[in-house]
């Protein structure tokens, strides 16, 4: 009985510790040769519904620059970057994760911000206050946010 109890509590503690421990810190992301990231940044699968919300709002706001037909009920898609329609046909999941985390690994001069980039900025601010911020900075999206966005991007298939 004692044994069972202990095993049970270990399991509980283990579960929460595991999710925190599996989050890959921005400094430790195992970027591959092209910038791809093969493993989940949060250690958890993404939630495409939450990803869909981030495409439109908060620090994601991807449609500020990208047109996405699947989100056409939302107003004002930008045209700074390419349309993301069919993006899952063009890229593997690991690439999409790498592109969102730091697109500059793929396109050095791109205008697309690095959403899991945390340092190396010039005059980093404190969010949108215009005041000085702290380096290293909190990334624009959390590990789980990125997984959620990638899960949504994986639904964007033409064929």
């Amino acid at each position: 009985m004692k044994r069972t109890l202990t095993a049970f509590s270990v399991l509980l503690v283990g579960a929460s510790a595991a999710s925190a421990a599996d989050v890959i810190a921005p400094a430790d992301v195992p970027y591959g040769e092209y910038g791809e990231v093969a493993v989940s940044l949060s250690g958890q699968p993404g939630d495409m519904e939450k990803g869909k919300v981030l495409m439109n709002r908060g620090a994601g706001n991807c449609i500020a620059c990208h047109q996405v037909t699947a989100l056409e009920d939302l107003p004002f898609h930008g045209d700074i970057g390419p349309s993301l329609d069919g993006v899952a046909d063009r890229w593997e999941e690991a690439d999409l994760r790498g592109l969102v985390a730091n697109a500059k690994n793929y396109f050095p001069d791109t205008m697309m911000p690095g959403f899991y980039k945390y340092t190396g900025f010039i005059r980093v601010g404190d969010a949108y206050t215009g005041k000085a911020g702290i380096d290293p900075a909190e990334p624009l999206l959390t590990a789980q946010d990125i997984e959620d966005v990638v899960a949504f991007l994986m639904t964007l298939k033409d064929g």
Binding site: F76, D79, P113, F121, R123, V124, G125, A127, Y128
Partner: protein, 288 residues
């Protein structure tokens, strides 16, 4: 107001659609409308880029990127909400202030005597040994010649007065000197223009050189020209200064901005002004 004007604007749009847009631009680009203020002052809103611009062939006023209903407000001083502030500045111009008991008019006569000044600003001030903006000239007059208090760079009085100074130069070509003693400041401004600031790592050039004509969310990106400043922003329901605009754009990159009136923004003002050499002075303009 002016069904005719609105109609002209609409036909400009139709023409644009029929001719097709410049293939370099994915977005709607600048429109084809022409700006004449008070059916009198012709404004050059499109010109060949000055020789010092390496990546742009044609420069456009921000007016060409605005919606028709915003554009129309600038075509007649009675419809231009910024002109209220110009009127206030005319009052201030004639008001005696300070220990010397002088007004601007005591030394300068009519505001029209300053016609031409805006087109050359900012410029090298040999007496002071630095590049001077309109605000700096105004404050020197106030403190040194009137014995009055300096105005805040971004204060209402100063914005009004710079609107008056601009209004009397409307239609003249922007012609800012970038060589000689101003060159060092100009180079510094250029460096700032191309620096990718903040957590979003965006430079002025990313938005206003590489992507003018494109949409960033709901915003139709212009070339970020300053020939129309100070500009009445419908969003603010007031006139805004150039440096305030610079600050807002840098803040939007999640960066620590420079301050209004800082040497960095004076340098940036000189550089950005020089990118408009050949456009007409247009301020005070109307933007959304």
């Amino acid at each position: 107001m002016t069904t005719t004007k609105a109609f002209k604007l609409v036909s400009g749009i139709a023409l644009t659609a029929a001719l097709g847009m410049s293939p370099a631009l994915a977005g709607p680009g600048p429109d084809e409308d022409q700006l004449v203020i008070n059916e009198d002052i012709e404004i050059v809103t499109e010109a060949a880029a000055p020789a010092h611009m390496e990546y742009v062939d044609t420069i456009y006023s921000g007016w060409r990127f605005r919606e028709d209903d915003t554009q129309v407000m600038q075509m007649d001083d009675f419809d231009n909400p910024a002109m209220i502030y110009v009127d206030k500045a005319i009052d201030a111009w004639n008001t005696v202030e300070g220990a010397e008991e002088k007004s601007c008019a005591s030394c300068h006569g009519d505001p029209e005597s300053l016609r031409g000044l805006r087109a050359e600003l900012p410029k090298w001030n040999a007496d002071k040994g630095e590049v001077y903006t309109a605000e700096m000239y105004v404050n020197d007059c106030r403190t040194e010649r009137m014995g009055a208090e300096a105005w805040g760079w971004n204060g209402q009085d100063m914005r009004n007065m710079t609107a008056l100074i601009s209004s009397v130069s409307r239609g003249l070509p922007v012609n800012v000197a970038i060589d000689g003693p101003a060159q060092e400041t100009w180079e510094k401004g250029k460096e700032i223009y191309y620096t990718r600031f903040g957590q979003l790592e965006l430079s002025c050039a990313n938005c206003h050189e590489d992507n003018y004509g494109n949409m960033i969310r709901a915003d139709h990106l212009s070339q970020g020209q300053i020939n129309g400043f100070p500009t009445y922003r419908l969003k603010d329901a007031n006139i805004v200064s150039m440096h305030n605009r610079f600050r807002g754009c840098i803040r939007d990159t999640r960066a620590e901005t420079f301050s209004v009136g800082s040497p960095e923004f004076v340098a940036l003002e000189l550089y950005v002004a020089s990118r408009g050499n050949g456009l007409s002075v247009e301020g005070p303009s109307v933007r959304n």
